[in-house]
Amino acid sequence: MTPAPGFGTGDVPPRDHEEWRAAAAAYALDALDAADRKAFASHLETCVECRALVASYAPVLANLGLATEPLRPPESLRARTLARAVNQPRPSTVTGRPPLEAGAKSPAPQPARQTASWWLLAASLMAAAGLGIYAWSLRQQVGVLRTIVSQASAEVQAVRAELANVRRESTRLGSAVNVLSAADLRRVDLTGQAQASAASARAFVSQSHGLMFSAEHLPALAAGHVYQVWVLAPTPMSAGVVTPAPDGTATATMPMPNDVTVAAITAVAVTEEPSPQGSLSPTMPILLVGNIGR
């Protein structure tokens, strides 16, 4: 990460974004030291907020200059200034022109284009004289406000996404609570088998509220696979699939399979199956299994 400005040696990492924000006014003023200025310029390439902040100071800088009490320059300066400007080598201003071939003749000067751009500029000058610097300030402010609105919209989207996550989590936890508080709750402890010998899990089964499954130390799955939970009644019936977290834990609530009664369940088992739906029947080997107590 690029170090934030204002730390002297520049080798102290930024503490937070406020460090960059705090440097924006100085950057606009060109008052940062060279290393800090370079770091801030690099930061600006990726930070729309700081670009807007720097732009917000532009009216201040322009106003300070424009408010300087005018001084009548020497009379000769006008002629010298105009002569120097118009006699300097004119850059090639036509964009999109292919580079000249070696030895090719230079194109003729393009006075018509120069004239056109100057008349445009003269027109802008007249407009500027009418509007005044505060109109410019207003445009700058509008630009900043647009940026802020854009950022606010992005934040609203992020908050909405977070809210949706919270709602999903709330629903999931509500389902788990319903299962765990059911009057007809039965607990099944599952132990790991084969390559999942270190894993363990519990299933809480309720006829009225479904099944809650919780496991630890599950091995990482092959790509495109999920764990599938089965209730044996005694025929294996799929209760649902679950994908473990990177730490090997998994929690899920599932409805009781159709036409299955808790009384008929003899065991709960887990196998590894293709995602996303799992399989119609278990693929061997069984990775976790537990018999239901009577």
Binding site: A26, A67, P73, P74, L82, R84, V86, Q88, A122, W136
Partner: protein, 172 residues
Amino acid sequence: MADGSSDALGRLYDRYGATVYALARRIVSRLEDAEEVVQDVFAQVWRQADQYRTDRATVAGWIIMLARTRAIDRLRARRARPDEDRGVEPGEAVPVPAGGPNPEQSVLSADDAKRVRQALASLPDNQRSLLEFAYYEGLTHTEIATKTGMPLGTVKTRIRAGMDTLRGALTP
């Protein structure tokens, strides 16, 4: 110029020349340097006229920012070669040349210019002076801290506070 383009440049000079010159004098002090800045600015305006974007700044804002940048560049170059500097020290009073102020050439209206000056004057002294060191003398944070003997953090905080106050006062 027969094609009329130098007329446009002449009108720009007539409109903004006095303000550019005044700002240059305020920053570089030396008469010959100020005149060089004026010539540099309008030469740059001439070269870059077709790069000027009306959606970014007014002509006035564009020209005045060019003027400050060129003046600060020249001032810093002078500072780097102190042996050649025999002129008025930056920050000293600049004598008004013959002819005096030229109010009719002011870019801002009298009310707007007054408003800007009042906003600057309303800052606490310890903010305004630091801001002026940066704006008119082109000093960096570190240079201002060295010059004033203030802690670097204090300099940063006060300049930022001053800029924020002016922004609030000078934007609608």
